[in-house]
Symmetry: C2
Subunit: 190 residues, 2 copies
């Protein structure tokens, strides 16, 4: 079997190391060891840990599965709910650890790195827009309570989701997830 490129191995290892340990706790050495590549090879592919972090954040975007939000074979609100349920299930499976890498890097790195802040900003903007498009579909289908603005509600729900992940991790319990689904889908969008 052909070996995937060294760059690709570094990116995959970085994604895992950054997500489990955080940005500052994951050193270049940890990443190259996890990737099984010589430490010296790192700088053939990346200028700095910071540039690798931006690539890893972009790669992490696939985990959020924004494509599922565009699947018109499911009604918009159940589709949005399933989107968050799938992300919840992943966190529960990991014993309430890791959280969302966008939120983690937003908390730990955004103040200190323009490129990382930019990548987190873009990721949130894309995610929020995908949620807003789903809510706009719901509105068109008459399934959104009147007076709700899809873009504002999308941004609010995404913030609530990010905070819910922080709380679920601190509690190591699904209570915060239950609250999110009850209030978001049982009250705000009901």
């Amino acid at each position: 079997m052909a070996r995937v490129s060294m760059r690709e191995e570094i990116v995959e290892a970085a994604l895992e190391q950054f997500h489990t340990r955080g940005y500052n706790a994951a050193g270049v050495k940890d990443i190259t060891v996890a990737a099984g590549v010589p430490k010296g090879s790192f700088y053939n592919h990346f200028d700095s840990k910071e540039s690798l972090a931006v690539v890893a954040l972009e790669r992490y975007g696939a985990n959020v599965r924004l494509g599922d939000l565009a699947d018109r074979s499911v009604a918009p609100l159940p589709r949005l709910r399933a989107h968050f349920e799938l992300l919840r299930d992943e966190t529960v499976r990991r014993g309430y650890t890791r959280g969302c890498m966008f939120g983690n890097f937003g908390a730990e790195v955004a103040d200190h790195s323009g490129p990382v802040r930019g990548a987190v900003h873009d990721a949130f903007a894309r995610w929020s827009a995908a949620i807003a498009a789903t809510l706009a579909e719901a509105r068109q289908a008459g399934a959104l309570p009147s007076g709700l603005d899809p873009e504002q509600v999308a941004a609010f729900l995404l913030s609530a989701w990010e905070g819910t992940l922080l709380r679920a991790r601190a509690d190591r319990s699904s209570e915060a997830f239950d609250t999110f689904f009850t209030v978001a889908f049982g009250t705000l969008l009901a």
Copy 2:
């Protein structure tokens, strides 16, 4: 003027260093330099950076001003709104940096330290309970939309607030704050 105790100077410096740099980026040396105390004196007062982090998180609690939420001279919902507005103003004044230390340590440290996770858990639980008590007052005064459970809505609002801070930092803009106030107070609680 009497010099405050060395322990106190270390705690104050740690609070500032942890909040601005994060847990892993703020070393014991950074903290003792900022406190103006010899590095060796650190371990006379604390077992580890981790134990200091727990003390710093408890100290940070004062910044959240939960006492204001119990001030019955203001009607409950305007009081709750003013609580978040004051925290927003602080973040705006700091150029959208720092965020909430509970959320930051929840994102960066909770997975890796039981004591820090416990301190973040307790802090969120206390804050959520104070918001719930304010919402329960609103309900008693007939100012809460029917069907809203104060405890659940409090936990949801706190999550939304924590996520809003992450978003505002990533955007360096007050848009996420505007969204929070519009949806929380203009829709959910209206």
